[in-house]
Amino acid sequence: MLFNSIEIFNFGRYKDRNVFDTTVDPKKSRNVILVSAKNDRGKTTLFYAVKFALHGLPIEQVRKWVNFQSASEEDGEMFVEIKFAHESKNYTIRRSIKFRQTNRGEEIDTIGKPDLSIYENDVPINVGDNKQEWINHILPEDASQFFLFDGEEIKKYIEKPQENVKQAIEKVLGIRELLNARDDLNTVQIENFDKEYNKHVREHTRDEREKGDFEKLENDINLGKQTLEFHERSLQAAIEQKDKYRKELEKYKEIKEDVKQRDDFENRLKKVKQEKNRIEKDLSIKRGHLGMILLGPLLKQIDKTEENPPSNEQWESQTVQHMLKHDFKNCLCNRKIDDEIIKILKTKILNLEPTRSSFLKRFVEKVLINSNPEAKFVGLNNSLEALGKINQDMDNIDTSIITLNEKIQKNENVGELVKEYEDKYEEAIRDIERYENDKKELEEQLGKAINQKKKLEQKIETSVTDKNLDEASKRKEVCEKIRNAIESSISKFYQIKKPELEKHITSIFRRLTNNPELYEGLEIEDNFEMRVIRKDGTKLPTYTYSPSAGASQIVATAMIGGLNKFTTRQAPVLIDTPLGRLDPIHRQNLIEYYSQIGPQVIILYQPSELDDGDIEIIRNNLASEWEIDSIPGSADISKITRGKNYL
C-alpha cells in the first residue's frame, strides 16, 4: 500500500480543500516525506485525518474534527480522501460526513454516521456493507498502530510497558479472538455448567459427610477465588504505584543529575576560591617588589657607568697602598720591589675619597646581584596571569551554576523528593513481591481445594446414579477441555512466535542504540515486561538500562518497529513528533532508521525537532518537503503547502 495523495476538506484546522501529494519513488530510495509544522498548526490533525479515513473514529470525536469555521458559515460536508496504490491497482477511499450550520461555541450538528466510499480507478467497488473489512484486509486497525504512530504516545510503552506491550503483542499475533473465546468459555463454565453440576451433586448426594465436605470445598473455592481476585487487584495497584514512582523518578533523575552536577561545580568553586586566595596572598607579597622592579632598568644603566677615576685605577691605587703598607717583597707580577719600583708604585697611589656616584654605583652593583629585578618581574607576571586564569575559571563555574539552578528551577526539595519517591518505589516493589508470594500461595491452596473437589466429585459420581448429574458432568468436562485446549494453543502459539518477535525487536534495537557492542538485545519476559540484555548476560529494566537521553524511547521505538515488521504488511508509516529528547547518537540512528522503516515514510515534525544537519542525514531519501502553517489573517485555519520536490 502506498499513498499517492491525501485530500482533506473541512477537517480540523483545514478549511475547504487541502491536497497533500504523497508520491514517493521507493525504487530510487526517495521514500521519505517531511512535513514541518509548529505546535497547534495542524500536524496532529493531519495524522488523525489519515486515521479517520482508514478506520474511522467514534462519532463524538468526528464532530469535534469538523472545521468549526466552515460549520459556522453554512451547511456542508467534511471528508478525507486517500488515493493509494495496492498490488498494482489504484484505489480511493473517502470517508465523509455532512453537517448543518452551527454557531460557534456549540457542538457541531453532524448528520447521520460517516459515509465510507471505495473506488478502484474511480469506479466504486462492490463490497456491500463490508467496506471497513475490505480496508482492514489491507491494513487491520489493530496493526495500524505500528504504522501510524505518535512519537509522544511511544511514552506509554515506557510508562506502562507490561500492559501496553501485552496488548500490542496480542493484537499483532492475532490471538485476540482466541482470548475472547477462552474468556467467554470461562464465564459460561462458571456461571452455568459449574453451578448446574454443583446443584445436582448437592441434590443427589446421600452421604451427609460427603455433602458437607463438598459444600465446604465449594465455599473454600469461591472464597479462594474472591481472595485471589482481591490480591490480583492489589498486585495491579502496586504495579501501578511502582510505575508511577518510577515515572516520577525518571523525571527527577534529570533534575538529580543536574543537582549533582551543580554540587560538583560548587565544590570545584570552593577549591578554585581557595587557590585564588593563595595566589592573591602571593601577589600581595610580590607587589611589594614593584619599587625594585621599576628601578630595574635604571639600575642596569647605573651599573654600566664608570667611576671617576676609573675603577681599575682605583683598584691599582688600593692594591699599591696595601703592598707598601705591608712591606711586600715582590710585586703582584713577581718582580722584586726595589726603590725604583717603589717610586713607580707611589705614582699609582690616588687620593681617593669615596664619592657619592661611586658609592651609588657600588651599591647598585650589590643590589642587582641580591635582588635581580628582572626575575622578580617574571615571578609577578606569572602570578598575575594565574590570577587572570582563575578569575576566568570562576566566572565559567558561576555561569554553569546559575544555568543549572535555573534548570532545577530553584527546587530546593529535589533531594528530599527523590528520596521520598525512591522509598515509595522500594515499598511498591516489596508490596509486589509480597502480593506475588501471597498469590502463589493462594493459587496453590485453591489448586489443592479444586483437586480435592474433583476427587470428591468423582467419588460422588461413582456412587450416585443420576442422568442429570451425568449430563451436567459431561457438559462441564467438555467445556473445561475446550477452554484448556484454547489456553494451551494461545500459550503454544505465543512461545513459537515470541522468539521471532524478539528477533525483530532486537535487530532494530541494536541498530538504534548508541552502544551496540554493549548489548545483546531485548527480551520479552513471560509477564510481558521487556528487558535489555547486555553482552555479559546481565538483564536490565528498559527504563534504567542506560543513562543516555532517550534510551527508553529507543526501546519503545524498537518495540513498535519490531511489531511493524512482524505484521509483514507493507503500508505507509506516518510518524507524528518522532524525536523527543535524545542524545546525538540515538538521534542520528533514529533518523536513519525512520527513513528505512517502510516503502513510504511520512514524518510530521516540529521545526525544533529536526535541524538542517538532521535533514542532511536523509536528504538522499527525500521525495518532498511540506509545511503546514496558519493562513495569513486567520490564526485558526491552516494550509499545507509544498516546500521542495525531489522527484
Binding site: S284, G291, I293
Partner: protein, 140 residues
Amino acid sequence: MIQRISEKPLQLRSALKYVYDEFVDEKKLFQTNYSLFSFALVYGLMKSKRSDKTLNSDFIKINTIGDDQIKDVIDIVYQLLDDSDKEEGTWQEMLHIADGGLLELKEIYDKNKDFRIQNIVSEATTIWNDKIRDLKNINL
C-alpha cells in the same frame, strides 16, 4: 662616610592614608604600607609626580623596616635625589613624590581595577633613559 638613609629613624608619612587603608588593609593588594610606599615612590620619581598635600599621617620609622630590599629602594632613590646631604629636605621631598605617585596609581586602579603593571614596566626603560640626566650621583 656616606650613610644609608634607611638606617636613620626617619618617619614615613603621607597625606593619603585613605589610599593606604584601601590598598593595604581593605583590598590586601600589598602586605605592608611601606611596600606600597616604595612602589609609589619609584613610580612618582619615574613619572615626575609630586603632591603638595600636607603630610598628616604617620606610618613607621624607616630604620624599623624589616625588608632589606625595600630599604635598598629607599636608599637608591635618596642617592638619586640628594647630592649634598640635605637629609631632612630630601626625605620630605621623597614623601611628597611618593604621594604624587600614589595619587596617580589610585586613579589607574579606580579606572581599570588593576595597576596595569605590564604597561608601567614596559615604559620604564624609555622614561629612565630620558630622566637619567636629571638624577644625581650618576657618573654618565
